[in-house]
């Protein structure tokens, strides 16, 4: 079984986000970038399936500028076998990314596509579902448990009311939630080894995909700040404030 994992290079989740003063975008100059945390979970799941002997090959793919090769190298250091960079400008919309990923999945004849549920920059939560729709594959989003058996994936999903388990036939798309696994760290020898693993660069034109978008960003503004509050000295003072000042407790 071949697994395709998509990984996105995003602002590190610990970085304090700043909006550019001209309100056009978030300022990413000299900011630490990392693999999207949900993609780390996706890579980890694929590696575990390989370690269990269920997967035979793990291919990682990233869509973006040359800098996302760094993210692909990280995935290779974690244990992926081979990487593909689809060379594009940054800032494609999810539909464009999904079309590219769907085409790669088709070319690779991947049996399982594991993706993050959400990028922590765009907060879109849609690319995986779009890839599944474009390929007419079944999907299991927000996965917290994946069991592969007899050409099917039995997936437990984190939903608003609790947990749901679905059984989907392969090929399929799974998107990861936080509780699926705890990603490992890459060891130094593996980071060295990863430098020699194959990394192929292709273009949207190679894939015959047009990534044009009808969505434009008009402005990016900082959020309204909450006015700072006060510290109270005791529970009695807190209850008094809630009753008589904020009037949210009767």
């Amino acid at each position: 079984m071949k697994i395709l994992v998509s990984v996105k290079r995003v602002i590190d989740y610990n970085v304090k986000v700043r909006v550019k003063s001209d309100n056009t975008a978030v300022d990413l100059t000299n900011v630490k970038m990392s693999m999207n945390p949900f993609c780390e979970i996706a890579v980890e799941e694929a590696i575990r399936l390989k370690e269990k002997g269920i997967a035979t090959e793990v291919v990682v793919v990233s869509v973006g500028t040359k800098s996302c090769q760094e993210t692909l190298r990280t995935a290779l250091a974690l244990g992926a076998d081979r990487a593909i960079q689809v060379d594009t400008e940054d800032g494609l919309d999810s539909l464009g990314v999904a079309k590219l990923l769907a085409k790669v999945a088709q070319n690779e004849a991947a049996d399982l596509i594991i993706m993050g549920k959400q990028s922590i920059d765009s907060d879109n939560n849609q690319t995986g579902q779009m890839v599944a729709a474009l390929l007419d594959y079944p999907q299991a989003t927000f996965a917290s448990d994946v069991v592969i058996e007899n050409g099917e994936a039995q997936v437990t999903r984190e939903i608003d009311g609790g947990l749901q388990t679905l059984s989907i036939t392969l090929p399929a798309v799974v998107t990861t939630d936080l509780r699926l696994n705890e990603p490992r760290f890459a060891s130094l020898p593996n980071i060295m080894k990863a430098k020699r693993k194959p990394l192929e660069v292709i273009t949207p034109a190679d894939l015959g995909i047009d990534v044009g978008s009808n969505v434009s960003v008009i402005a990016v503004a900082p959020p309204a700040e909450r006015a700072g509050g006060v510290k109270v000295g005791s529970v009695a003072e807190l209850v008094d404030k809630l009753k008589n000042e904020a009037k949210v407790v009767s």
Binding site: V17, S122, Q139, Q164, S167, V215
Partner: protein
């Protein structure tokens, strides 16, 4: 042009998230239709007909739709979607699961988690865990949108008198099968529609200690929430998680207990009207957004709070 909304429901009752989505829709255009996809879901359709501002309800009632699987529901929506300028769903796990498939099948983009309508083609949505607010314009022929429910007031659940029309297409989903569900049963209000929420973090120490929060929640008629750390540690189930990648809430009162206030947590609760933080670390970032901060050990403060309410 008309707007189609995918109703949020569990086959028995219409979920309040639908009402907020109706408000978002009426800010785009006046002709709002609601699509109910489910099984034995007549009561849901009846409730949708009563929503003020809804002019028509479409109901697809068939066993194949019982679990609202994304594969067939998205195809059904595309089937009935011609003529609609906008397709909306609340940004719940159901909406997020299904609507991107609809967008891809229609070859259009999706705008996720919209919090404000500027015009029929321009919308506002948070990005980067709410640390930036983007205004985006779409020239797609159909706008596919998920609506963040805390961005819009609920429409009145009574006062409408829409006609209900049956949708008879039966689309099977042969490659995806429902196996089972473990849904939390609770007498408490639902997290996303509660007016008071008491949330616990890693500082609670273990799951048993959440009983302390329940005591307070009982007195306030509150829902219980949690940080990711509390969920990851197994103190409470996953559906308690508030934050960037959990639920977004905006109650009148949010009480954060033993929660440090990471940006990913703040993203889900910063819109609350009044925020209270109880934390023993006076440097905890949660105090920067709290209207009332109490620096104290929660094991002293929470029982005292319960008894003084």
């Amino acid at each position: 042009m008309s707007i189609l909304i995918l109703a949020e429901h569990d086959n028995k009752s219409l979920k309040p998230a639908t009402l907020n989505t109706v408000t978002a829709a009426t800010q785009i255009d006046a002709d709002v239709h609601v699509l109910v996809v489910g099984f034995e879901c007549q009561a849901v359709a009846d409730a949708a007909c009563n929503i003020a501002g809804v002019s028509k309800v479409l109901m697809a009632d068939n066993a194949v739709y019982e679990h609202q699987l994304a594969e067939n529901v998205s195809k059904l929506i595309v089937d009935v979607a011609s003529g609609y300028s906008h397709i909306l769903a609340p940004a719940t796990t159901t909406g997020k699961n299904t609507l991107p498939r609809v967008a891809a099948l229609l070859n259009v983009a999706q705008l996720s988690d919209v919090i404000k309508v500027e015009s029929a083609d321009t919308f506002v949505r948070p990005i980067y865990a709410g640390n930036a607010i983007a205004t985006v314009k779409s020239t797609d022929s159909v706008k596919v949108i998920t609506v963040r429910i805390t961005g819009f007031d609920a429409a009145a659940s009574e006062g409408g008198s829409a006609e209900c029309e049956a949708v008879t297409q039966v689309i099977e989903s042969d490659r995806s099968r429902f196996v089972k569900e473990q849904l939390a049963v609770s007498d408490r209000p639902e997290l996303t529609s509660a007016s008071v929420i008491v949330s616990g973090g890693r500082g609670m120490g273990n799951g048993e200690n959440f009983a302390l929060l329940e005591g307070v929640a009982d007195k306030l008629g509150a829902a219980i929430g949690a940080s990711r750390a509390a969920v990851d540690a197994g103190f409470v189930p996953n559906d308690f998680q508030v934050g960037q990648t959990g639920k977004t809430v905006a109650p009148d009162l949010y009480i954060a207990v033993g929660i440090s206030g990471a940006i990913q947590h703040l993203a889900g609760m910063k819109g609350s009207k009044v925020i209270v933080a109880i934390n023993k670390d006076e440097e905890a970032p949660i105090f920067q957004v709290a209207d009332y901060g109490l620096v104290a050990d929660l094991f002293d403060a929470v029982p005292e709070l319960e008894s003084s309410l």
